[in-house]
Amino acid sequence: MGMKVGFIGLGVMGEPMVRHLRAAGHEVALWARRPESAAALVAEGVPLCATPAQLAARSEVVVTIVTASADVEALAFGAQGLAEGFASGAIHLDMSTISPATARSLAARYAERGIGWVDAPVSGGAQGAREATLAIMAGAEAAALARVRPLLEAMGKRIVHIGPPGAGQVAKACNQMIMVSTIQACAEALRLAAAHGVDAAAVRTALMAGSAGSRVLEVMGDKMLRRDFAAGIEARLHHKDFAILMDEAAKLGVPLPVAAQVWQQLNALMGQGMARDDTSSLLRVLEAAQPGA
């Protein structure tokens, strides 16, 4: 049976996610900070609300997928925010990548009002959103997760309950560390092959079959070889994620020596003006350090 679902965040991920929810029989409504970003869906008959509070008032679950911790906080508890509109028992399902601390704090504030919370950040990028194959890592009380599971199943393939609120964001931080560090490792390996005068494409093909094979080597390695640096996911978003995870690690007293170096490469990428390019541009950061090489 379809649910009444609100959706906020119609970027490259959000729009296909809305289509999957509708295809699965859910009744979706929208709110958008820039109403023009909703134009395509509105033309297909999806209603657009005037404020987040109005959207919340007509929804059992509101899904958000926006950029930063502060955006989610403002949507939830800002003026005319979701919290003003939610009925008791409603759920805020946040699929953004934000800090675990913010997720825990929002969950606690909602709980005081009898409103549920699920943090369910995703991995898989624009392609995963289009094909409904996203990996979804959830932080929530079991009952809240059970209620939104049909929605998650419409948008993703692998849904794992990691733990209580905030735990999904911890898993996402681990995901970002491994993924971006691997992008850096791929870029370094391709540079090494090229420096030896060896065909980097052949190296990549060989490696894909062995222990170094990975999704990143497959997708980002290919983009690097084709020198296609158009985003997928814009590098500035990975840069933002690294600031969050490194800051939390510092507070916890956990050393992350490799991630710390990758963060510096991301800083260099930003400084070189490639914020809106794909993170495979880490290859170009290495090249810039050796002009002419």
Partner: protein, 293 residues
């Protein structure tokens, strides 16, 4: 000069005493009354709040832990801004982020108060001896007016530039001292793990291009296994976080500082936070298989 002093910790107490010694009239206030005792015994005026301090003095100095404390003292309820008269100068000698220093200076300026950021290097020893290195950001006119106060506390006083510039210099100082402590600890640990007595290694190096004050002072304390603070590792960790946050904001790669910041994180997470930074040596020994004798 009539001077107010707020923040009478390890550093602030001897700095305020040196002001009295130089013939200035000092007024003090502290959240914890017992930290005021040494100053009151030396003849300092006893105040009820930061505003009260500012009312009695032409210049106030703060020396506290972090940006929120500086904000509170300068702009909070019963803070300096409430008590300060026409032409008041507020000097913050704490180590905080350059952006925070600029923001505080701008808000004080809007209330007719000239603000200087004047962080120091030289540790407790330098504070007691009146030999601190003082790096100042803010208007030249205000700097000239309070120069005699700086000269009572430090032996090297430099105006770096406008508001926040003192904190930029201090961040540079923390990069050099943080990476320097790690380098000295690595070198001494390397010598000993190689089966060589580290003391004559240090001795020899002091005569060459690897000479540094850190090799001289911190290196000696490492050889003596004297890990008493001094400058606590958690404070250096805090300063390195300021540095890394600024690098993120600026799109700037700091690979060596990043590696060092992770070592400080490891110190915090393994119970070395209250030791002096030279306990970096203990961390490296553990990483490489057990502490030394």
């Amino acid at each position: 000069m009539e001077v107010g002093f707020i923040g009478l910790g390890l550093m602030g107490r001897p700095m305020a005493l040196n002001l009295i010694k130089a013939g200035h009239t000092v007024h003090v206030w502290s959240r914890r009354r017992e930290s005021m005792r040494a100053l009151l015994e030396a003849g300092a005026g006893d105040c009820a709040s930061a505003a009260d301090v500012a009312r009695r003095a032409a210049v106030t100095i703060s020396m506290v832990a972090d940006a929120p404390d500086v904000e509170q003292v300068a702009l909070g309820p019963a803070g300096v801004a409430e008590g300060a008269g026409e032409g008041h100068v507020h000097i913050d000698m704490s180590t905080i982020a350059p952006a925070a220093a600029q923001s505080i200076a701008a808000r004080l300026a809007a209330q007719g108060i000239a603000a200087l950021d004047a962080p120091v290097s030289g540790g407790e020893g330098g504070a007691i001896a009146g030999s601190l290195t003082i790096m100042v950001g803010g208007e030249a006119a205000a700097f000239e007016r309070v120069l005699p106060l700086f000269e009572a506390m430090g032996s090297s006083v430099t105006r770096i530039g406008e508001a926040g510039a003192g904190q930029v210099a201090k961040a540079c100082n923390q990069i050099l001292t943080g990476v320097g402590v790690a380098a000295v600890a690595e070198a001494l640990n390397f010598a000993r793990k190689s089966g060589v007595d580290a003391a004559p290694v240090r001795e020899a190096l002091l005569g060459g291009f690897a000479w540094s004050r850190i090799l001289e002072n911190h290196g000696q304390r490492m050889l003596d296994r004297n890990f008493q603070p001094g400058f606590k590792a958690w404070m250096h960790h805090k300063d390195m976080r300021i540095v890394m946050d600024e690098a993120h904001r600026l799109g700037l790669a700091l690979p060596a500082a990043a590696a060092t910041a992770q070592l400080f994180s490891a110190m915090l997470g393994s119970g070395l936070g209250e030791d002096d930074s030279v306990a970096m040596l203990k961390l490296l020994e553990r990483m490489s298989g057990g502490p030394g004798e």
